[in-house]
């Protein structure tokens, strides 16, 4: 099924801040979950990568909370940051996880998430009628574009793995 994300409606600046906060908070939670999975499956290199991504998203989340000032983004996000079909934009695809995945795979997931967030805020800029919402969304676009660039830079350190990255000499069971 094609999975168009049904974005929550933004009627005020508070909605925008809450949704932006929710996007980052969801990403934190997702990376923490993936780090836990990799810990369980003894892939320490990936634990470190996902924990780093988690920390980076936590910084973004807290920054949005600071920017929002008096708006209670935590409570408001619970009400308005609701995404139809699928996950919120920056949540890494859980189904793509593999116990032998490499940092390159993890960063591909991160890149896809940042791009989805960038597209979302771009669409807000394009459709917002309220100049304050538009202006703030433009700032979020800049921020997300920076994140996309950052992941691209990180990817230079981690080239794609060889085609046999998922081969396991002691697989869970021989199916062939």
């Amino acid at each position: 099924m094609s999975k168009p994300i049904r974005a929550p409606k933004i009627s005020s600046l508070a909605d925008l801040f809450a949704i932006a906060y929710g996007i980052e908070a969801d990403a934190v939670e997702r990376y923490e979950l993936l780090a836990g999975q990799m810990e369980t499956h003894n892939n320490p290199e990936l634990v470190a990568v996902f924990r780093d991504l988690c920390r980076a998203e936590a910084i973004h989340r807290d920054e949005i909370r600071r920017l929002a000032g008096d708006i209670d983004v935590v409570a408001h996000a619970q009400r308005v940051a609701k995404w139809g079909r699928g996950d919120s934009p920056e949540e890494a695809d859980l189904a793509a996880a593999h116990y032998l995945m490499t940092p390159w795979h993890a960063l591909q997931l991160a890149l896809a998430g940042e791009k989805r967030a960038l597209d979302f805020f771009r669409s807000v800029v394009e459709t917002a009628k309220d100049p304050d919402i538009k202006k703030m969304a433009e700032e979020f676009v800049e921020e997300e574009a920076e994140h996309v660039n950052l992941v691209h830079r990180l990817l230079r350190k981690f080239p794609p793995p060889s085609g046999s990255w998922s081969s396991d000499l002691d697989p869970p069971v021989a199916q062939e």
């Binding site: 099924m1 939670e29 993936l34 836990g36 369980t40 079909r85 069971v173 199916q175």
Partner: protein, 278 residues
């Protein structure tokens, strides 16, 4: 169990326990757990008013990962446990979690009679068409040509059709979900829990380890083309003729739930002990 302050709305995270799931990375059951916690938060139920009951298998680990009351029971007997619990403690919200092996094979007979009894509870079966915990044997919903070292040439057996069996047996609410759509699944779980009587929700939840082909499911699922019906005849026809990937609520019945009159709940412990004296 940590209690949540009264008056504060619960967040999905409030329903998660501190136990880290040990499912394989990529397993659909992570999403199902997420759907559970989102649904519970949406319903606004305190964790201590929910009981998650399960049998045996990968999917049946779910009670441990929630912060609600839980009962990780014996293989295939989750519905029997849950039925007893709901009848004696009707004020609790009872959600039963199972898999295709636990629910349709070992617990197949309980499934039929739970549908027939129509006790007000929700039965969630995470169907991955394989016994994952025991390393990849065919289950009742496995395709006949699933050819592996454990089933050379495939079983050649017609797969079990849980939705139509649930309908024929009297389930009052029937839905199919896909684990990769946790928000949609959560919404359907909310509806299933709120619907009176026995609600059956099948969740297609890929096993990436023993059925890597199921990763393709995300491209196969699609919303059911018509809204749910309350006509069992229509529902049967639709379910029997769909491609197995129609997602959504497929049947909403209006049978009265089974709720027997029970004795006083305020029996003293000493009185109960007398009943068990040898």
């Amino acid at each position: 169990m940590s209690s949540v302050d009264a008056g504060l709305a619960c967040k999905p995270a409030d329903y998660k326990s501190d136990i880290k799931p040990i499912w394989c990375p990529g397993c659909g059951d992570y999403h199902v757990l997420m759907s559970f916690t989102r649904a519970f938060a949406e319903l606004g139920l305190p964790p201590e008013e929910i009981v998650v009951v399960s049998g045996i298998g990968c999917s049946s680990r779910i009670p441990a990962y929630t912060n609600c009351y839980g009962f990780h029971g014996v293989h295939g007997r989750s519905l029997a446990l849950a039925a007893g619990l709901k009848v004696t403690r009707p004020e609790l919200t009872v959600v039963v979690a199972s898999g295709d092996g636990d629910g349709y094979s070992i617990g197949g007979n309980h499934f039929l009679h739970a549908c027939r009894r129509n006790i007000d509870m929700t039965y969630v079966v995470m169907d991955n068409r394989v016994y994952g915990m025991t390393k990849g044997q065919p289950s009742p919903t496995t395709e006949p040509d699933f050819d592996t070292a454990l089933s050379p040439g495939g079983t050649g057996l017609r797969p079990f059709h849980p939705l139509v069996i649930a309908l024929a047996s009297g389930a009052n609410f029937i839905a199919r979900c896909f684990s990769g759509e946790p928000n949609e699944t959560a919404s359907i779980l909310v509806e299933a829990i709120q619907h009176p009587g026995f609600s059956f929700v099948e969740i297609l939840s890929p096993c990436v380890t023993f059925r890597p082909d199921e990763k393709e499911w995300k491209n196969l699922v699609h919303p059911a083309p018509v809204a749910a019906t309350s006509d069992p005849g229509k529902a049967a026809r639709r379910i029997m003729t769909d491609d197995g990937f129609n997602i959504g609520v497929l049947y909403r019945g209006d049978r009265k739930p089974y709720a027997p009159a029970i004795g006083s709940a305020s029996v003293e412990l000493t009185e109960l002990e007398k009943d068990f004296e040898l």
